[in-house]
């Protein structure tokens, strides 16, 4: 039974439409940000692209002919799933980091972006996959023929009058190519995920599973009575075949080699086939999907294989043999007359084939574009139409890949079983295994080894599998029978005389022997290039080094490239819109201002980003080449950073030198407080440890003073003047002061035009840096400047970091020093003040002594009179004064005076008064005239000193008992007369001395009697105040005098002093207290 060809075609076209719908919907969802395919289930289903029409048709064929070993093809991947958790995760992570777009990219990336290796991988992949694509074409064409009943190569349309010949296989190839273009080459960036493609592939995976399981159930339970029934009937009908199919056949002299070979091949194929690498690595949306896929994918394989054996056995039972077993899946339902099942089976097979061809052609076209076309294209100067050219080249590559398969099918197609064609491809893909695994886990594996091994393995594969496959139809050709040039040792299926193996095991053995052998030997004998070493770090020691890489780049761009330049470069390959979008995304995460120049340390990272972005479209090798040629056009190149910290790193981010310098610096800073010494020694340390030529520190003492050089170390120590060459750096220094960041120039030849430094350049300096000296949150104190004559690119991020931390310490030290200075100054001032005070005090004490000595040591003796004088100054010196002048044996002058104030001035005036009085004492003049003379003599001095004097002057004549006296505004002396209570006040008219230049004083006379006690006193006695501010008063003085009058004059005088002290309740006197007591004895 067959189905109408139009009907089948319509169904197939409808199915294709459905696929497009699924893809379109998935893409729309992705654009909306609600991805349909971003989950582990779709990821697992997309990996199931592994199950092609080989599985769908071929497995049954294999099961029906050689038996159970067909399972090995699925047990292998299932087993490998155990290793995904590590190997696959690592591959995906590296790929995502580097925008890897294919397995060729991945392998060439590991071996230093080798274009040759990338091309080789591509060549092997394209030629190796050729039979595999042929297999798909053959399967679909055959199944179409079966279901519609037309002959193989052409279709004769039943309705037409004349039979029209229509090549089915050619049109199928065309349709599959168009599928590939539509699903996989809409846009250029091939490292990004194709959501539509994946959705379609996942949908196809569901269809093929449902279809095959349905057919299985149909055959098992509808055509037969279940599993047991098929087995029993088969065992009865073909007991020998039963045992043959359900065991492996070590009896044929091959041991278990064929099954092990198949297991090994399939284990490699699951990741090495370009389409598997594409869906598992490139299209992986999330690393977390792996752990679910690890069991979901094997489950899928398990389910799809569950009914292979029953269908195979059922087919043999049905047809009595295994002829046409490859298509039992479709022929059994047809034989049973179930057209729906047959159609479902056809669709399943179509899905399996279409899915495989789509993904494979996309993956291979990417490889072709990036690794074969690109190396040529990058030699041309980039043009505006490049993106258009590239995408169309990619589309062309898809056609190329599919049609290569088509031609292979035309050449060998019918002579091979499906499975056997597939195994040829598996073995080709396996040639990648040593380089891939070695690249991931063996640090010494190198480019030469990978290329040699892969090339040798590929040649052996060609010779032992590909060539025999072309001769499969003619097994008796010369080369097959007698070997190349008739050398039997070179017989393709028995190379070097190795016989007794099936052709796959044979080819596997030889190709792997040469591949692995050459890889190991070359890697061990030859060394890696720098580029490779860098990649080895990324691939193997990847994660530790990555962190260090961020810390300090080991390369720098000799001439900076600006962001617009980078965008323009990317734009030429991926289109301007996408380029600026990518750059914006990159900048957003890095806090770099797109407008300004890129900080130098960011440049290598940015270059890497641009390279990665380009790699996403043109492959890693080509991207590297594009970048290199672009940089050299610009006159820039990557050069090694001068590694100032060359020894082993002692900790994660500090080298031993850096630690040493830090240690030394803190030693210097802690040793002394002298800022000058610290600065000098610090600069000398820098000069000694790093190859600097000049280091200098400029500091300002306060924010309104300009910077001044505080320390200058190194060569060229001429006098510092405004003409000195280093003054040219002033703009940098000022910027550093203001923005408190380091400003440095790594190559004076690449200076921005704004600042020119002809003198510095003439001196031979090529790099310099200015590091602000400041404490966090405070104004800059100054700037440390360092200059080098020998090293371009001296100032790495790490070095600048070290210098910054040193200036931080220096600022701390400077602050400490200035604090210490301030403290010292304060202490000295205080000391000075104390010293001056002490000196003044001593002077005052001396003055006191002198003043006291000016007073009469003891009163003169006069018959009939007792005299006592006292003076108690409140301060050291005072203005009180009393004196006696004995004129003759009977006459004595007494005086008491009070110069206003207690100052030294008062004391000096008092001394002057004394001198003047002594000069007059010999002249016999009356008290009033003495006062008058005194006033006129003292007036000028007193006015100038703004002082004045009160004075009481009396003359007592013992002979007459008369006391004549004059008063210049002084307290009136008191007389206590024996037997009287009240006192007599001695009063006489007269103004205070020093008010007028000439004055007249009244002179009075009183006759004293025996027993009279006279008290001359200053205002210190009556004006003494008690706690409440009450004055002692003249009344009290008089009262005290009358009470004490019986005592001796000395006792009276002392008692008055006691009285004042008692009354005022204080140990210190408020005012000078002076008095003269005179008692008339007879």
């Amino acid at each position: 039974m067959t189905l109408n060809i139009y009907y089948v075609t319509a169904i197939a076209v409808g199915y294709a439409g459905l696929l497009f719908l699924v893809a379109w919907y998935a893409r729309r969802r992705a654009e909306q940000g609600r991805s349909l395919v971003n989950n582990p289930y779709v990821y697992s289903l997309s990996i199931a692209v592994y199950c092609t029409s080989w599985t769908f048709y071929g497995s049954v064929g294999k099961a029906a002919t050689s038996g159970i070993d067909f399972l090995m093809i699925y047990l292998g991947p299932s087993l490998v799933a155990f290793s995904w958790f590590y190997i696959l995760r690592r591959i995906i992570r590296i790929s995502k980091e580097n925008n890897v777009s294919s397995i060729a990219d991945f392998i060439s990336l590991r071996y230093g972006n080798s274009q040759l290796l990338g091309s080789l991988v591509t060549l092997i992949a394209v030629l190796g996959i050729m039979p595999y694509i042929a297999l798909q074409i053959k399967a679909v064409v055959t199944s179409f023929a079966l279901i519609s009943g037309v002959t193989h190569r052409t279709i004769t349309l039943p309705g037409a009058d004349a039979a029209i010949s229509f090549p089915t296989s050619l049109s199928l190839a065309l349709i599959l190519s168009i599928f590939g273009v539509i699903f996989g080459a809409r846009r250029l960036p091939s490292a990004e995920r194709h959501e539509g493609l994946i959705a379609a592939v996942a949908f196809e995976s569901i269809i093929k599973l449902v279809s095959l399981v349905s057919v299985g159930i149909f055959v098992t339970w509808f055509m037969f009575d279940g599993f047991g029934d098929i087995l029993t009937r088969f065992n009865q009908q073909f007991p020998e075949l039963f045992n043959r199919l359900f065991t492996l056949h070590p009896t044929e002299g091959r041991g278990f080699i064929p099954s092990s070979t198949m297991l090994f091949l399939s284990m490699g194929a699951i990741i090495l086939l370009p389409r598997q690498f594409h869906v598992m690595v490139i299209e992986n949306a999330d690393l977390r999907h792996i752990s679910k896929a690890m069991w979901l994918f094997p489950t899928y394989l398990f389910l799809i294989n569950l009914f292979i054996m029953p269908i195979a056995l059922g087919g043999i039972l049905q047809y009595g043999g295994n002829a046409g077993a490859d298509y039992f899946v479709i022929s059994l339902p047809l034989a049973a007359g179930n057209s729906f099942m047959a159609l479902l089976a056809f669709l399943g097979g179509l899905s399996a084939a279409a899915g495989m061809v789509m993904v494979e052609s996309v993956a291979l076209s990417t490889m072709l574009l990036n690794n074969l076309f690109m190396p040529i294209i990058v030699r041309i100067t980039p043009k505006q139409w490049f993106p258009v050219l590239l995408i169309n080249l990619k589309r062309l590559a898809i056609f190329f890949v599919v049609f290569l398969g088509y031609f292979y099918y035309q050449a060998v197609g019918d002579s091979f079983m499906l499975v056997n064609m597939g195994l040829i491809s598996f073995l080709a893909a396996l040639q990648f295994l040593p380089a891939l695994l070695g690249g991931l886990y063996w640090p010494r594996g190198n480019k030469i080894g990978a290329i040699t091994g892969m090339a040798l393995g590929f040649l052996i594969w060609c010779y032992t599998l590909l060539i025999p496959s072309f001769h499969a139809a003619t097994p008796d050709s010369t080369i097959m029978l007698h070997g190349l040039f008739g050398q039997s040792l070179l017989k393709p299926t028995a190379l070097f005389g190795l016989t007794g193996m099936d052709m796959w095991s044979h080819s596997l053995f030889w190709s792997m022997l040469f591949n692995v052998g050459a890889y190991l030997i070359c890697s061990l004998l030859l060394s890696q290039s720098d580029g490779e070493k860098e990649q080895v770090r990324r691939f193997i020691g990847k994660f530790e080094t990555e962190r260090r890489q961020v810390k300090s780049a080991t390369k720098r761009l000799s001439k900076p490239v600006t962001i617009p330049q980078f965008i323009a470069l990317m734009g030429k390959f991926i289109g301007p819109g996408e380029a600026s979008q990518a750059m914006t995304g990159y900048l957003k995460g890095r806090m770099i201002d797109g407008e300004n120049a890129v900080p130098e340390f960011e440049l290598p990272a940015m270059k890497r980003f641009v390279e990665r972005t380009l790699a996403g479209s043109v492959g890693a090798a080509a991207a590297g080449a594009i970048m290199d040629s672009y940089l050299s056009d610009m006159g820039s190149r990557m050069e090694s950073v001068y590694d100032i910290f060359s020894t082993v790193r002692a900790s994660l981010d500090q080298s031993r030198e850096a630690l040493y310098v830090r240690l030394k610096a803190s030693e210097i800073i802690n040793r002394t407080l002298d800022l000058q010494t610290i600065m000098d020694e610090l600069l000398q340390l820098l000069l000694k440890e790093f190859r600097l030529d000049v280091a200098l520190i400029q500091i300002r003492s306060s924010s309104d003073v300009p910077l001044a050089v505080q320390s200058y170390q190194g060569c060229d120590r001429r006098p510092i003047s405004p003409e000195h060459w280093f003054q040219e750096s002033d703009p940098y220094v000022k910027m550093a002061m203001i923005d408190q960041t380091t400003h440095f120039v790594n190559d004076i030849n690449n200076l921005q035009e704004i600042i020119t430094m002809p003198k510095t350049e003439a001196e031979g300096f090529i790099s310099f840096a200015h590091i602000p000296i400041y404490r966090e949150g405070e104004e800059s104190l100054g700037v440390l400047s360092v200059y080098s004559k020998s090293i371009i690119g001296l100032f790495t991020e790490e070095f600048i970091g070290l210098l910054t931390s040193l200036t931080g310490q220096l600022a701390q030290a400077a602050r400490l020093a200035s604090e210490m200075q301030a403290k010292e100054r304060e202490r000295r001032e205080k000391e000075q003040a104390l010293l001056a005070n002490a000196r003044v005090k001593r002077d005052m004490e001396i003055a006191e002594q002198i003043q006291l000595s000016l007073l009469p040591a003891e009163p003169p003796l006069l018959f009939g009179v007792e005299l006592a004088g006292r003076c108690y100054p409140a301060a050291h010196v005072g203005g009180d004064y009393y004196d006696f002048f004995k004129r003759d044996d009977h006459t004595i002058d007494l005086l008491i005076a009070d110069v206003s104030g207690h100052s030294v001035g008062a004391a000096l005036i008092m001394a002057e008064v004394r001198t003047l009085l002594r000069a007059q004492s010999s002249r016999a003049v009356s008290p009033s005239s003495i006062l008058e003379t005194l006033n006129s003599q003292l007036y000028d001095d007193l006015t100038r000193a703004e002082l004045f004097i009160t004075m009481f002057y009396a003359r007592y004549s013992a002979a007459t008992g008369r006391l004549s006296y004059a008063n210049a505004g002084h307290n009136k002396p008191l007389i206590h007369r024996l037997g009287q209570q009240s006192c007599i006040e001695l009063d006489a008219e007269g103004l205070i001395l020093g008010i007028k230049p000439s004055m007249v004083f009244e002179e009075r006379t009183i006759t004293l009697q025996a027993g009279d006690t006279l008290l001359f006193y200053t205002d210190g006695i009556p004006e003494a105040t008690d706690q409440s501010g009450e004055l002692l008063g003249t009344g009290q003085v008089c009262h005290h005098l009358s009470q004490q009058s019986t005592l001796t004059v000395n006792q009276i005088a002392d008692s008055f002093f006691e009285l004042v002290k008692e009354y005022s309740q204080s140990t210190t006197l408020q005012d000078d207290v002076s008095m003269v007591v005179m008692k008339i004895v007879s």
């Binding site: 047990l75 087993l79 590590y86 065991t247």
Partner: protein, 87 residues
């Protein structure tokens, strides 16, 4: 209860080594000496012995991956699981 205990036990076993051991074990089981043991033309409950061995062994291995992978899942949110594993 038993499930959480199982989870705990699995977590303890969830090491890089476990995956390697299973991988090697699977390879051994699918190669010469083991295959020879089961490569007998006899049937068990009507099923050929080798067929049963493959099918059941396969199903069991999937179960093992399932248990291990699902017990490992919480750790997966940690981005550097692989790298934190002792080397």
């Amino acid at each position: 209860m038993w499930r959480s205990n199982l989870q705990k036990a699995l977590k303890r076993l969830h090491l890089r080594e476990s995956w390697v051991i299973f991988f090697v074990l699977g390879n051994v089981m699918l190669n010469f000496p083991f295959l020879k043991i089961f490569n007998q033309p006899t049937t068990l409950l009507g099923f050929p012995l080798l067929y049963l061995y493959f099918t059941l062994g396969w199903a069991i291995s999937i179960g093992v991956i399932y248990l291990f992978a699902s017990s490992a899942e919480p750790e997966q949110t940690e981005p550097d699981t692989e790298e934190q594993a002792p080397r």
